[in-house]
């Protein structure tokens, strides 16, 4: 006999009793099953009316197993029925109605999976019964736990990636640091000024040369120092030799350059170049300013131009004469004497031209090869000087010579080159002093940082030079007498200077206008060979 269907109890009709307590049980005084709720019957179809409740369940409370009387006595106790085969727990409370006991129970589920295992659905539970909702809470917590684990895994993965990226970054940083140090050293070594400005025009980096070229003390904190593009403009404007036409750094087109001529302690010409920087999106992101001191280049250019102009002029002068007289001889008939005279002029100019070209070639060779062609020999200077003087100022020249001797004057020299140098000086002394006027040659000594030097002074009593002429005496093609009455190329003294320097010596010149000139050839003094 199955337990009876619900009958009206607790003031509820049968249908509401089933709906409100689908797991209830009614027992008699011997704890025999009288009635069971629909869901409990579905769960335990073997439930029989009249069979002891304890046949199916273990009746538990905090006092242990109970009988009917104990149930009645402990009406305020939580009742738990345990069904071992299905591992079911029903929980609830005991009520007494007449001689019957009513167990108002609900099913206890310990996990969401339990519901499925029992093949129950939510309609099997009373709507007021929160067990399904508790399962939802449990499940929500499980899902949260799963999420936490997933996030934790993801974070661990990201942490590993970050750690790897950090390691790579540190490596790259080290590499960048090394490159940066190298670049810094390179940029600092440069004599060209470099400065970078950020997108707002503020100075980011500038090398020492940048400040030096502008005459700025890099350590100073003066108000107008060029710490920005506008600061640069403010600094430079008052230094400009010519005011107008200055373009602010910010207004210079990309990859453009111009020249700034500044009145610093000495006039300086700077080539200013600007390169605009852009970010990854191609937006303006600052500028690089590059300054190069081209004063020396411009000076050299000017010297070269002047040299070429002068050289061309000096070559043209004798050539014009040679051409003119040659043409005359070709087109006109002259007597023998006149012809010889004209040929003599042609010959003289040709000799002058050859001398000019030889000296030019000597100078160029000296410049390009330095002392490579020199053959040095340690030797006494006095016999060599006597020989050269004898060649250039023979006794029959009528010149009075005052020569002092120094047997200890020894030097390490190229004999031929020294001969050329002294010969040029003697030639000048003869040309620029009146016939018959005396020449003096005497030895001098001086000490320098590099040791003792011996100097041979050649003094004439000729026309001398003004201080301006004296300051230019060693310039190429400079002639103290430009009218052409005294033959010469203007290359003699420059050549003497080059030769003496190649022998670690020097040339000093003193002169007084209309009084005469003294040229001293200095050489390092060496010990005589025994």
């Amino acid at each position: 006999m199955t337990p009876t269907h619900a009958v009206p109890m607790l003031g509820l009709d049968a249908q509401n009793m089933e709906l409100a307590f689908p797991f209830h049980l009614v027992v008699d005084e011997q704890l025999r099953v009288v009635q069971a709720g629909a869901s409990l019957r579905r769960l335990l179809p073997q439930l029989q009316a009249g069979v002891s409740l304890q046949h199916y369940f273990t009746l538990l409370s905090h006092k242990g197993e109970l009988d009917f009387k104990q149930l009645c006595d402990g009406i305020d106790q939580l009742i738990i029925l345990y069904h071992a085969p299905l591992q079911l727990k029903l929980r609830g409370q005991f009520c007494l109605q007449g001689k019957l006991g009513i167990l108002l129970l609900s099913l206890w589920l310990d996990s969401p999976d339990h519901l499925g295992r029992l093949h129950l659905c939510i309609n099997d539970f009373a709507l007021h019964d929160p067990v399904i909702d508790l399962l939802n809470v449990v499940q929500a917590h499980r899902v949260s736990l799963d999420d936490s684990k997933s996030l934790s895994r993801l974070l661990e993965q990201k942490r590993r990636i970050l750690a790897e990226s950090n390691a790579v970054l540190r490596e790259r940083e080290g590499e960048l640091e090394r490159i940066s140090r190298e670049l810094h050293a390179i940029v600092e070594l440069s004599s060209d000024g470099l400065a970078s400005f950020d997108g707002s025009g503020q100075l980011g980096y500038a090398n020492s040369a940048f400040y030096q070229l502008l005459g700025v003390d890099a350590q100073s904190a003066c108000k107008d120092r060029p710490d920005s593009e506008t600061g640069f403009d403010r600094w430079v404007l008052p230094l400009l030799a010519e005011g107008g036409g200055y373009v602010a750094v910010a207004d210079m087109p990309d990859a453009s350059s111009d020249l700034l001529v500044l009145r610093l302690p000495r006039p300086t010409t700077l080539r200013r170049s600007v390169r605009h920087l852009t970010d990854e999106a191609g937006q303006p992101n600052g500028r690089i300013l590059y300054l190069r001191d081209i004063s020396r280049e411009r000076e050299i250019d000017a010297i070269k131009t002047e040299f070429l102009t002068t050289a061309a002029h000096e070559l043209r002068t004798p050539l014009t004469s040679i051409f003119g007289y040659a043409e005359l001889l070709l087109t006109r008939d002259f007597d023998v004497e006149r012809s010889r005279s004209l040929l003599g002029i042609i010959c003289r100019h040709s000799r002058q031209l050859i001398q000019l070209l030889n000296e030019l070639l000597d100078l160029v060779r000296m410049e390009s090869r330095g002392r490579q062609d020199f053959q040095f020999h340690r030797q006494p200077l006095q016999p060599l000087v006597d020989s050269i003087v004898h060649d250039f100022v023979p006794p029959e020249s009528g010149r009075a010579l005052e020569i002092t001797a120094d047997a200890d004057a020894w030097a390490n020299i190229d004999t031929a080159k020294f001969r050329t140098a002294l010969g040029n000086v003697l030639s000048n002394a003869l040309k620029y002093s009146p016939d018959g006027s005396p020449l003096s040659l005497y030895w001098q000594r001086r000490s320098s940082r590099d040791g003792s030097q011996i100097g041979l002074a050649i003094a004439d009593r000729g026309m001398g030079m003004t201080s301006e002429q004296l300051s230019r005496a060693c310039e190429r093609f400079f002639r103290a007498e430009p009218n052409g009455t005294i033959p010469g190329t203007g290359l003699g003294l420059p050549l003497v200077l080059e030769i003496m320097k190649a022998m670690d010596g020097d040339v000093s010149i003193s002169s007084q206008w209309q009084q005469g000139t003294t040229v001293t050839l200095w050489l390092p003094l060496v010990e005589p060979l025994l």
Partner: protein, 184 residues
């Protein structure tokens, strides 16, 4: 919508195309994370964007993708996450569908920001019924069709599903006729 929905979409996309594609979709949708927290609410717009970009990336129409997503929801996500509710919802399609509101009410207890749809069943026969779907959200009819298809698979029935009323055509809600009587 709750993160559970976005996670379900993620699982489906990753199942079909891999994690890189999902990361790409998240990037396009402007999601600052690619892993969603199931029990946290996210803006509806984000879910719609994810669906649209996923549809674009997977080369499927939004209707097709939403239908697939509905099936995936029933068969995988809801089944795995809240399987007890799916199991407890009923032993058959006919028992389950009328319980949908009941299920959503219970879920609403633990998801306070939930704005669940409302379902009604009419013309209920042993093997057919009309399911009415009321929601404030647009364009979810294909998703509901996918859900029904998933439930049919779950309860091992073959059904003919036809939309008999559409919000897109001016009705106040969508309605679907589900008939599993004639098909084997």
């Amino acid at each position: 919508m709750y993160g559970l929905v976005n996670k379900a979409l993620r699982d489906m996309v990753i199942q079909q195309c891999g994690e890189d594609v999902w990361e790409e979709i998240c990037g396009k949708a402007g999601a600052d994370v690619s892993l969603f927290i199931s029990n946290d609410p996210y803006p509806d717009a984000l879910t719609y964007d994810l669906v649209n970009y996923a549809s674009e990336r997977l080369g499927k129409s939004p209707v097709q993708l939403l239908t697939e997503f509905g099936r995936h929801w029933v068969l995988h996500t809801a089944g795995e996450g809240y399987g007890h509710l799916m199991q407890g919802g009923g032993h058959s399609l006919r028992e389950f569908l009328p319980n949908l509101n009941h299920l959503h009410s219970r879920v609403g207890l633990i998801f306070p920001a939930l704005r669940p749809p409302r379902f009604e069943c009419s013309a209920m026969e042993d093997e057919s019924l009309i399911l009415h779907h009321f929601t404030e959200r647009d364009g979810l009819a294909p998703f509901v069709i996918g859900l029904i298809e998933g439930l049919c698979l779950r309860f091992e029935v073959t059904a003919r599903i036809s939309q008999v009323q559409s919000r897109e055509r001016g009705a106040d809600h969508d309605a679907f006729f589900i008939d599993w009587s004639a098909l084997p």
